[in-house]
């Protein structure tokens, strides 16, 4: 087929490829090496880490920090909690975002400008920490899982990205032809627009997921009595804080601490799960979605 022939033609490796591959390789090394450094620190002996003698390879193999993290039985529980809230936030977030983005792709929808402005406005203005806390408190969501899911489930930024992406990839003529055929808006959305927007949806799902996964400041204040509901990042944050705390005012015995190594182990522990997710999402970023027949 003509398509395959052109594909073969492009397989020649030319001088540009060398430059491109080289540049990409150098750049990703620059990104990898600091991370390797953190991993190395997490497996090293505390004394060497303190003296800044650890670079890319662990010195004085020591898995005490990992043992400490895993010995905390509630870590597994918090991992479970984090997975739940990440999934919930992503699911709810995507639904809400799609419901907002799709209608707004229609330029001729009455009121679309005002509504878009309403959404966009929330990207710039917020009430601050105390009003946010008051809201959660009044809604009775303190110490519940919803305080960690609902407030962050919608991002106007993602909405605007989705909207411009749909506008860009799905020609109006396609939707027109479906409308003429008698399909309702919701039907078009579900059977046509969504399947054709897989890459951007995978992207936004990733954004929601990673945003929720990394955040812990809200849990710090909203989850107090219900300790089972602490997400992973919060527990790791506490572990590090405990270890680094100076003992001056306390004057009581506390456990042996090794904050530097512990910090590094916590970074690894918190990052690796989400890193493992991305390769699975990559299949949605496939090139060349076949656009169906377009009339006229």
């Amino acid at each position: 087929m003509a398509k395959n022939a052109s594909y073969f033609q492009q397989k020649r490796f030319d001088k540009w490829d060398v430059l491109i591959y080289g540049f990409i390789l150098l750049t990703s090394l620059a990104c990898l090496i600091p991370f390797l450094h953190v991993v190395a620190k997490s497996m090293s002996d505390n004394a060497y880490v303190l003296a800044n003698k650890v670079f890319l390879w662990p010195k004085g193999w020591n898995f005490e920090a990992y043992a400490k993290v895993l010995a905390d039985k509630s870590i597994v529980r918090s991992l479970y909690v984090t997975i739940i809230i990440t999934l919930l936030t992503t699911a709810i977030g995507m639904i809400v975002t799609i419901c907002a983005a799709y209608p707004l792709t229609k330029r001729d929808l009455a009121g679309s400008k005002v509504i878009t402005f309403l959404f966009m406005f929330t990207m710039f203005f917020s009430g601050g920490l105390i009003p946010a806390y008051l809201l959660i408190s009044e809604l009775g969501m303190l110490d519940t899982i919803w305080s960690l899911v609902l407030p962050t489930a919608f991002s106007a930024f993602n909405l605007l990205i989705l909207r411009s992406s749909i506008r860009g990839t799905i020609p109006e003529s396609l939707e027109e032809s479906a409308r003429i055929d008698g399909a309702s808006h919701i039907r078009i959305l579900i059977s046509m627009v969504l399947p054709l927007s897989k890459p951007i949806m995978a992207t936004l799902a990733l954004f929601y997921a990673v945003g929720r996964w990394n955040g812990y400041m809200d849990a710090l204040f909203y989850i107090k009595q219900n300790v089972d509901l602490r997400p992973l990042q919060l527990k790791l944050y506490y572990l590090v804080v405990q270890a680094s705390e100076a003992v001056q005012i306390e004057m009581v015995v506390t456990d042996l601490t090794n904050p530097e190594v512990l910090k590094a182990a916590c970074v690894v522990f918190a990052t690796v799960p989400i890193l493992l997710v991305y390769p699975f999402l990559q299949k949605y970023f496939v090139q060349g979605v076949m656009l169906g027949s377009v009339k006229g």
Binding site: N46, D72, I115, E138, K224, V253, L256
Partner: protein
């Protein structure tokens, strides 16, 4: 035109529709309007007798620091249940322990206060922040006699402090927890380095001699002294003040929360710092360090200070990287002209009663403090159950049973966050007995001599201990400029330190003027007025 109006109409219709659907959500932005500030001076002759308990159950909310210790629930554990059964049930009080994040406590308190969910007691360790709470009007006025009535033991222990420090603008606001005078801050020096250059640690008895040691270290290529720029806690020039003290001057310029950059004492301190830096005697990149430990552990610096505990890893870490290292405590500068030494505050927690607490809740709080101050209750809270958590040795000092994991297990910091409301450190009888017990907490195995020397030098400093001045009136300009001045101080001090020695005087004069103009002069003026009005302790 019509289209635009149509659009607007449409949008507002939708909004109204949505809003009415959400009308069931109350607007959470109004301040809680329950119990107004209680002015306890309305209590007429005699106080109600609640020794039989309250008629109607009272809910007492007590704050506890939340440090997220593994497997520990601050609101519900053996000890909270014990408090409820021994104290709460007796008086018909429901005791609630409210967790407060240790690392973001001010924000936590502010959110709880705004939402009306804050505990009955509001506490903090720093006086300026306690004053800030007062400024936010979240504390109610208290009657000393009421405390004396319901909490006689507690009041006996702490009334001096309350009367001295707890009265702000003629209102009784703060009450305190005791803080026995113990300190475990130690300055360590590399003994092997000192001896290598032919000197003895005991001979380092003045600043000049210290600089001499550093110079010799530099010559021998051993390393440098550590140095750090003060931040947030300004204690650096206290030793240079004239002795005996000029009280007015001391009260005017000595402040833990904002640095002084105008007295000759600061100039002296900076001059020495500049001398040390320009001659390569101290860490040349000290200003980019976020902590001193790594340089000491790596063997590049020879001095280090920390709060020592038995679990410290400083010695083992240094030895791992420098197997020949030996340690000693840096002596007190007895040769230098005498100067004051900062004494710790006699109080630990500074506390106030929540402005929304009812009379009964406040009285219940006094009763709780009273109960907590009873020696047997305090002892149990601090040590646990005999035979399970500890055994008494021949002196009656409890010795912890390692590895006890049963029901009455203490929190990782020995329940400190619970009993700190009345006292900052465990008490084991007399001052000496307590000191002995604390020494066991402080001493890593094999380094008893470090702790002994530390205590020896502390003894030598005792005649010079002076507490910081405390203004019992909020100093407005302090709150206004403090944050900026602290930032400016570091910038200016560093610019003076990094300048060549010949330029020191000019640079210092320039910096001093800048600092004064940036608000420090205003602070001084306001403080002087307060001193003249007798509003300082």
């Amino acid at each position: 035109m019509n289209k635009k109006v149509g659009n607007l109409l449409l949008a507002s219709c939708m909004l109204v529709g949505v809003l009415s659907a959400c009308s069931s959500n109350s607007n959470g932005n109004t301040a809680p309007t329950n119990a107004p500030s209680q002015n306890s001076s309305t209590e007429t002759a005699g106080f109600a007798d609640y020794s039989g308990g309250f008629e109607k159950q009272v809910t007492l909310d007590i704050p506890v620091y939340e440090r997220a210790f593994e497997g520990w629930n601050v609101s519900d554990n053996y000890y909270t249940r014990w408090v409820q059964s021994e104290f709460g049930d007796k008086y018909n009080i429901k005791v609630n322990f409210v967790p407060i994040n240790r690392s973001n406590e001010v924000q936590d308190y502010q959110q709880l206060l705004a939402a009306g969910k804050a505990p009955d007691i509001i506490f903090h360790y720093d006086y300026p922040q306690a004053m800030a709470y007062y400024g936010q009007e979240v504390m109610q006025e208290i009657n000393w006699d009421e405390i004396a009535n319901y909490a006689p033991t507690y009041w006996e222990n702490t009334k001096e402090m309350a009367e001295q420090y707890g009265v702000v603008e003629d209102k009784n606001v703060f009450f305190f927890a005791q803080r026995p005078d113990f300190s475990n801050w130690v300055s360590i020096i590399r003994k092997d380095w000192v001896e290598k250059v032919g000197m003895k640690v005991e001979d380092i008895t003045s600043e000049a001699k210290y600089n001499e040691v550093l110079a010799k270290w530099k010559e021998a290529g051993l390393g440098v002294g550590s140095a750090t720029l003060p931040a947030n806690v300004y204690n650096f020039n206290i030793g240079k003040f004239d002795w005996p003290l000029d009280t007015n001057e001391y009260q005017l310029y000595r402040d833990l929360s904002v640095a002084d950059f105008s007295t000759p004492y600061t100039e002296e301190w900076l001059k020495n710092f500049n001398y040390q830096y320009q001659n390569g005697l101290i860490d040349q990149e000290f200003y980019i360090r976020t902590e001193q430990k790594s340089e000491f552990v790596a063997g590049r610096t020879g001095t280090y200070g920390e709060y020592i505990t038995s679990g410290t890893d400083i010695f083992s870490s240094v030895l791992a990287n420098n197997p020949d290292a030996e340690f000693a405590v840096l002596p007190v500068y007895t040769d230098d002209p005498e100067g004051p030494v900062r004494a710790n505050w006699p109080f630990g927690f500074i506390m106030g009663i929540n402005h929304t607490s009812t009379n009964e809740e406040r009285i219940a709080a006094w009763m709780y403090l009273e109960w907590l101050s009873q020696p047997e209750n305090l002892f149990k809270f601090q040590n646990g159950v005999e035979g399970q958590n500890y055994n008494l040795d021949e002196n009656g000092i409890p010795v912890k049973i390692e590895g006890y994991d049963g029901e009455s297990r203490l929190s990782n910091n020995n329940n400190k966050d619970y009993w700190a409301l009345v006292i900052e450190s465990p008490s084991y009888g007399t001052y000496e007995e307590t000191l002995e017990a604390l020494k066991s907490f402080w001493t890593p195995v094999g380094y008893e001599y470090i702790v002994e020397d530390m205590l020896k030098y502390q003894e030598m400093q005792k005649p010079y201990l002076v507490t910081d001045p405390l203004f019992i009136k909020p100093i407005e300009s302090l709150n206004e400029y403090k944050a900026d001045l602290n930032n400016l101080f570091q910038e200016l001090a560093l610019s003076v330190i990094l300048a060549p020695e010949a330029e020191f005087d000019a640079k210092y004069a320039e910096a001093k003027k800048k600092y004064l103009d940036a608000g420090f002069q205003e602070i001084i003026d306001e403080k002087q007025a307060a001193i003249d009005a007798g509003l300082v302790r």
